[in-house]
Amino acid sequence: MFVRGLKRKCFDGEEDIEGTLAGIKAIPSYNLQRQSLLDMSLVKLQLCHMLVEPNLCRSVLIANTVRQIQEEMTQDGTWQMINTQSTGQTSLDRLVSTDILCRSSREQAEGKQVPGYSSFNKDFEDDQTQDSSETMSTSSSVQAPRNLQSNVWEMENPQESRGNFQKSLDQIFETLENKSPNSVEDLFSEVDNSYYDLDTMLTGMMSNTKMGHCDGLETFSSPTTATSNSNCKSDLNELDHIVEILVES
């Protein structure tokens, strides 16, 4: 096996992962991509607009995608494996892999290094406040349907996990049907009070997000500053980073 440089040209194999992302288990790339997609979809479903009803077509399509992934993962048996890794570090890697997923196809087409990614990753690793990263990642795993946690205890029972998952999807649909100003608070109600800053930041971000606003595919190359949330402490700037990438504000 060749020793590859740190240039992240292609995301095409385990050796790249081990070389570039320290501390991650050598998970096959397809599973990683799939998990990232699942996380992204769940975030999209839960971060709904408050004042205007969310688009039902979009929500249905995202929910169908989530179901599809979940079914495939249940068939694979990987559903249980992923859920045993409930540490913050793994969730962090899942966030990073979203970035990889969306860069990889582009880089495969162009075969050039994207400078933004390395700066993003550097921020991640250089930052002393691992707490903030874990805060984000823990809350994101909380925001994911509760079945992820329940599955830690119900590993023997894929049917039930499907049921829990279904329940969470149902909840999302009910929320969509009966929109009330408190529904965001309901969705986030499991989040510990210590994550309140994250909550305000996320909702603040959503109100600043324009529908259909796209900065082109160069979304990661220049981290834009977060919303005008003056409450953000400096150690929450990294959270802004991560959430922006997920939410594309």
Binding site: C57, C102, G212, C214, T219, E248
Partner: protein
């Protein structure tokens, strides 16, 4: 100027209506062609502007109802006035647009300013006469069709009987009579008893141009259903079901999303249906349900970018599609202010750009090309340089001439064939 959300020519092409995100409708009228300036072949000027819908608040759900105009459809003309339907997410309105170029003068009881005259000062009687005045175009709401849709209206379509029309939301389609505003018939209902089982929504609907009993509706799963209202009052069972079998080699987690149909249009002949999904436009023969007759790639270079487009929500953009008057050319929009035309006979296609920077007024548009990798030639644009915030979702084609209207965010472009 606000973001344009719909564009529609009337049946003669004399008028062009646009609706915007702020609930306004702007109507343009084509100038009479004059012999003095033959090169100015009937340009479009603003004819009327009015506020069609206002933002509302649904107190029961604590939700805003956007005033954005989703669709405008014209009624055929019967007299001097013009009629159009405009709709936002919840309410359809019928507007009458009429001209006034005379006004009465010489009233007995009031003077020219409208103030009442002192009766003791009136000594003679006179008959008011109509005198010409500056042309005034008035728009008045004639009907308001409200409270019939729980979900967001995505389509309206005037029936060929000119007495009824339909409005479609995500889960239901209602049939209205123009004269009756306090009730409508529900003709399609795909809402499951248990909302948790919802996996498919209605994305667009249209009446057949000649057969007043037939209509089609498309879904988020890439299917089209043709329904016959003679069969039953509730058209839950389709007469025809159009679906292309999935290509297993192209399957991905995004397959369903990109197969979702964003627009459906009958051809003028009534024989074909045009559908738009995220990457293609397809022409279907009404007599062949198992696959489309023709498929055209709009921007296949985006197929490898679907994950990014999913992340930034662009994958959910709803592009419209249109036929030309003779059903020989179809047109649809793309990103970077590009729009595409496909000639069904010659099988040639062209990509054009609606942008002030890149073309002067009255200059012939230069075809554009997106390069997908490898060496980029001069004048080509690479996929990664495309601006995904500049999307052309709404276009319209004049019913008989080669004049097109293209909405690029908050600008309206009108292009016509070059005169030799």
């Amino acid at each position: 100027a606000d973001i344009i959300s719909t564009v529609e020519f009337n049946h003669t092409g004399e008028l062009l209506a646009t609706g915007d995100k702020g609930g306004r409708v702007v109507i343009f009228q084509r100038e009479q062609e004059s012999k003095q300036q033959p090169q100015r072949r009937g340009e479009y000027n603003v004819y009327s502007t009015f506020q069609s819908h206002e933002p509302e608040f649904d107190y029961l759900k604590s939700l805003e109802i956007e005033e954005k105009i989703n669709k405008i459809r014209w009624l055929p003309q019967h007299n001097a006035a013009y009629f159009l339907l405009s709709t936002n997410d919840k309410t359809v309105k019928l507007w009458k647009v009429s001209e006034r170029d005379k006004r009465p003068e010489g009233y007995n009881l009031k003077d020219e300013d409208g103030r009442l005259r002192d009766p003791s000062m009136i000594t003679t009687l006179r008959v008011p006469v109509l005198r010409p005045m500056d042309l005034m175009v008035e728009a008045t709401p004639r009907r308001v069709f409200a409270n019939a849709h729980t979900y967001h209206i995505n389509s309206i379509s005037v029936n060929s009987d000119y007495e009824t029309y339909m409005s479609a939301d995500d889960l239901r389609i209602n049939l209205w009579n123009f004269e009756i505003t306090n009730q409508s018939f529900n003709i399609v209902d795909i809402k499951p008893a248990n909302m948790e089982e919802l996996t498919e929504v209605i994305t667009a609907a249209e009446f057949h141009p000649h057969h007043c009993n037939a209509f089609v509706y498309s879904s988020s799963k890439g299917t089209i259903r043709l329904c016959d209202m003679r069969a039953s009052a509730l058209c839950d069972r389709h007469a025809k079901f159009f679906e292309e079998p999935e290509d297993p080699s192209n399957r991905s987690f995004f397959s369903e999303i990109i197969s979702s149909i964003s627009d459906v249009k009958f051809s003028h002949s009534g024989r074909y249906i045009l559908t738009r999904d995220y990457l293609t436009v397809k022409v279907w023969d009404l007599n062949m349900e198992n696959r489309p007759m023709e498929t055209y790639q709009v921007h296949d270079y985006l197929r490898s970018k679907l994950c990014s487009l999913y992340e930034n929500d662009c994958i959910f953009d709803k592009f419209e599609c249109v036929w030309n008057g003779s059903d020989s050319v179809i047109m649809t929009g793309s990103y970077n202010n590009f729009f595409r035309m496909f000639d069904r006979n010659t099988k040639r296609d062209v990509t054009l750009e609606a942008s002030r920077e890149n073309s002067k007024p009255r200059a012939v548009l230069k075809p554009r090309k997106v390069c997908v990798g490898g060496k980029r030639r001069k004048d080509e644009i690479s996929v990664d340089s495309l601006d995904f915030s500049k999307k052309i979702l709404h276009t319209a084609w004049h019913p008989s001439e080669n004049i097109i209207a293209v909405a690029a965010t908050n600008n309206l472009y009108i292009f016509q064939d070059k005169v030799n």
